[in-house]
Each structure stands twice: as C-alpha cells, then as structure tokens.
C-alpha cells in the first residue's frame, strides 16, 4: 500500500504519526543514497555513517518539512552537505594506501589497476573494473563528480541538480560533459574499452520510483 505512494505522500503520512511510512521511504532510498555517498567518498564505512546521519536528520526535520519541497531533492541536499563537510575533514588526512585491501575483501587498488598489457577478459567483467571506475571518478573535480553521480547514479534531473548545487542548469550540463569526457579518457588510458565496460545497454536511471 505504502509502496504506491509518492515520497511526499509517505513523508506527509509520517508527519501524521505513521512510522511505517518512514520505513517505506527508508527502504526506497537507502541503497541509492548509500551508493551515491559511496561513489562520492569511495569508502563504505564513511558512506554508511553519512547515510545513517542523513536519514536521522530527515527524521529530525520531518515535522518542519513542507509538502511543496520534493523529498528526493531534500534528501540528496542533506547528503551532499554532509559529504562536503566530510571531504573538508578528509582533506588534511593522509590518503588511503593503494596497498590496503579493499572493502569486503576486494583486491587493493594496485592489484585492480591493469598494466600496460591489457587483459581483455579481466576488463570485461564490470565487477572487476568497478574499482577502476571508482578511482577514475574520484579523480574528477568534486563539482563534476557530484553532478555525474547525482545524474548518472541517483537519477536527479539537471534542473534539480542545479537547485541543489546552487548554479544554473547550463552550468550543470557543462560540468556533466566535462565529467563524462574525463571519465572516458581516464578509462581509456587505463585500458578499459567500451565493449568491456558495458555489458548492458545504457539506460536512463531514475530514482524514487524503484
């Protein structure tokens, strides 16, 4: 029943004292939000911490929420702000060692980066090239990375991204072009071909209606 309601209707129901409505919102957005933060930060634990804090802030601010504001925009704005704060704190930290083992037992970054000799079989598996993509993504400027992740992964339209980031829509699109071009060049330099990276067709990803 609650799955059929929009985000805003669920939040309104939660404002009326229905905890189940918020549970539905959480289940709808937990993975996309966590993925967004993971792409932005490149660290699962910090991404999970920030995702939890984002939802707790939504809980705290829910009584003051007004229905004319879109829930998804609010959610990702909070997450983005937390992400920026976290990035500022991390700016002065020592960079993660490339020799460190990846999360969940994944191979280290050094092991993931292919040499000059390209192994087509290895590049073909998207799961295996994901660390490369993540590394290339983290190499983008933050303003390009956030636009790319918000649009490509979170499915936020350019117009809403412009509202969240505080720039006009053309600027958002320009950043998006630069981000795509940068990723393409980085992956090509890493030996990742288009055919190896894409084992499925390019689709438009939209969140909130999963």
């Amino acid at each position: 029943m609650a799955q059929e309601l929009t985000d805003e209707e669920l939040l309104a129901a939660y404002q009326q004292g229905d905890p189940g409505a918020f549970e539905a919102l959480l289940r709808r957005h937990r993975a996309p939000l966590f993925t967004f933060l993971l792409r932005m930060l490149g660290d699962r634990q910090r991404a999970e911490d920030l995702a939890q804090e984002t939802f707790l802030r939504i809980v705290k601010g829910a009584p003051a929420w007004e229905r004319r504001a879109r829930f998804q925009t609010w959610l990702y704005t909070v997450a983005r702000n937390l992400c920026i704060d976290q990035s500022r704190r991390d700016r002065f930290r020592r960079a993660d060692s490339l020799d460190a083992e990846g999360p969940d037992g994944q191979p280290s970054m050094v092991d993931s980066v292919p040499g000059r000799e390209i192994d087509p079989e290895r590049a073909a598996a998207s799961a295996r090239i994901r660390p490369l993509l993540q590394q290339a993504l983290l190499g983008l400027p933050p303003e390009q990375r956030e636009v790319f992740v918000l649009r490509e992964q979170a499915g936020v339209p350019f117009r809403e991204i412009a509202e969240m980031v505080g720039v006009n829509e053309n600027t958002v699109k320009s950043r998006m072009r630069y981000a795509l071009e940068g990723l393409r060049k980085a992956l090509a330099a890493a030996g990742v071909s288009e055919e190896a990276a894409s084992d499925e067709p390019v689709v438009d990803v939209r969140l909130g209606r999963a």
Binding site: P19, R39, S126, M176
Partner: protein
Amino acid sequence: MTHTESQDLLLDLAYGELDATRAAEVESHLSGCAECRQEKAVLDEARRMAAPLRELEQPSPAFDEPILRAARAQAQLEHDGNVGQVIEVTGTVRAMGLDAARVDAHGPVKARPIERLRPRWVVRAAVGGSVAAAAALALVVSNTLETRRNAEKAAAAVRTGEFEIRVQPAAPQTLDSALRDAEGKRAKDQAEERDRAAKPVAPEKSSEKVAQLPMRRPAQHDAASGGNLRGSGGDAVVSVRKKAALQAKEGAADAIRPRPPPTPSSGEQVAATSGPAPSTPSSPPQVAAVSRAEPSRASVEPPAAAAVRPRRDSSPVPVSKAESQPAQAAGPAPGASGAEAKAQEARHSSNYLLAASLYRDAAAMRSRDGDPGAAAWDLAHAVECLSAVARFDEAKEVRDELARLYPSETTALAAARRALRAVDPPVAPAEH
C-alpha cells in the same frame, strides 16, 4: 532546429529529459548533422563505460535499525508528546542528530524550592531607611559645599578686592521718625524762609528745589537697588562688586548731585568756580574754600546731632551716602558730596592715598555741616583706603580719631576696625 540548439540538448536527449516532440526534433537534426551525431556518440560511449557505477550498493544489514528507532520515537513525540521507547545511544548523540533533551524527557524533575517572601514591613523599613539615609547624606553634602563656597568666596573677596558690607537694617520706626523729622525740618526751614521773605534771595527757590530732590529719591533708589539686598534675620548683607558699586554710586551721584550752572561737576571744580559766581550767593564757596584750606581733622569739633539724619546704614553705603543728604545741606553738600564722589573715583581707580585724603576732607566738611554720620563714614572709608596701601599707622590714627569724635557711630567704627583687623587683632579675653 539549429546546430547550437541541438548541441545544448544532446545531454537532455541522452538522459531522456526531453519530451517526445523535442526529442524527435533533435533526432531529426542528428540525422543531418555529422558533428552532432559524433558528439552524441561520444556521450553514449562515456555512459556505457561508466555503466558499472550505476549498480546499486547495499549498506550493512544493521543500517536501518537505529534510523527506524529514531523515526518511531519522533513520530510518538509528535503524536502525543511521549517519546515512547527510549533510544539507547552508545556513542555520541549529536552525531545521530538527536535532541538529547527530548530523549531525556522522562527524567526526574527536580522541584524548585518555594521562595520565602520577606515580610512587607521589612521591605518598607528598608525603603524608608534608604530614603532617610539619602536625605541625610544630601544635607551633609549640601552644608559642606555651602561652607566651602562661602570660605572660597571670602578668600576671593580678599584677593580681588571685593568687599562685603554688613549693615544694620533700618527699622521702620526709625525711617518713619526720620521722615517725620525731615518734614518738620522742612517746615521749619520754610518758616524761616518766610521770616526772611523780606530779603530778596531769588535763587533760593531753585536751590531748594534741587535740594529737595534727594528727599524723595532714597525710597526709589532703595526699591531699585533692592535686588542687591539680601536680608537674613536682623542683618542685611550686601555684596557689591567694585564695578557694580561704581556704576551704582556714579549713577546715584549723577542723579542727586546738584547740577551747577557751568559744566564742572567734581567737588574741586565746584569749589574753584563757586567763589566768584555771583549767581549763587549761598555758602558753598566759603565751605569749599575752608575745606581746601585746612585739613578735615585740624579743627573739626564734634558736631551736634543733626535734626534730620537719614541712617546711612539703611542702604549700601555708597548710595546712601550720596542720597541721604538732608535738604538743608544743599549749600555745603556739593562740596562734601563732590569730595566723596572724587574719593570714590580715586578709590576705584586704586588711588587709595588720594581717596583717603579726599575722604578725610569730606569728613571735615560733613562734620562742619552737622552730619556726624556721614563724617564718620568718610573717616571709616579713609581708614579702609589707608589700610589698602598698608599705611596702617595712619589708618590707626584715623580710626582713633573716628572713635574719639564719633563714638556713637558704631557701624562706621566697626567698619574701620574691620579694615584693620589684619594688623590689629581683637583683644583676647583675659585668662583666668
């Protein structure tokens, strides 16, 4: 659609943000534009390469639990004000974004002790005491300041030459009797005039008119100068600065002084020119000649008390001296008053020796005219002037002369003694 518009919409087309119509227009342009088609291909390639990043990652299984607890607690709080199940927080509460005060809403409430009110009379007594203390303090401060101000004023008066004249107020009875006496004297003079009516003295009337003028003016002048009088009990204390006194004296002298037919107005000029004047056959020429020929103290006999003698101490000395000339003194008065006016001018121009000499001359004339009060005051002024230039020996002689000749003029004598108190302190009472 132009090429530029198509370029702008390529991203929207790639991400499916164009409506069907708009998307068809862009596709139509792409079919005929190789550059746009190439750019669209690059975008699609980049997206396909980044496709693995779109795969969703799942957080840990324990991710939802604290969020759902907080959501339930918040919903309960918003619904009925009860937080419901208390969230157990092992880490920092702030990191979870929770409000610690709300979580602890069921904590024990410490009752505030009841404040004991003070009795009302205590408050009133405190207020009254404060007011009384403030009033007492203000009184003490005011008295202290007043005392200090008086002391400073006295010191300044000594320094700057400001003088203070303490005179006895004129008793109303005395004034009345003086006026009655004056009227009687006037009637007597008129009777004598009638007796001498056979003698043709034409100018007598004009001189009488001039002489009568001062009889009416004292009251006016007293009223006019009343602003300078400060009464306190039986004494009237008059503080007159030199300048103000000079103006008052000169004004009074000008108003009262008989105007001689020729221009000179000072005593000396009157004395010098009055001798050969045929039109004024009255006595002033002889008086002036005598007064200039011999000093005032040479052969002055104690005069008899004047029938009419306005009290000099009923008004500031300089004014009353000039205004209190009796009517019958119209003859010699110009000489005496002229000498006094000249003495005053000399005194105010700090020529004290000349002033003392003129005052003594005036005293001699006043004594001869039968005005011991005025004579006594002239001598007192001479004492003051001599004291001012440290001629204390001469001043003492004049004071002694004053005491000897006019022992009843206590006020003038007191003024003379006051002028000499610095070098002649009062006699201390005998010790037992």
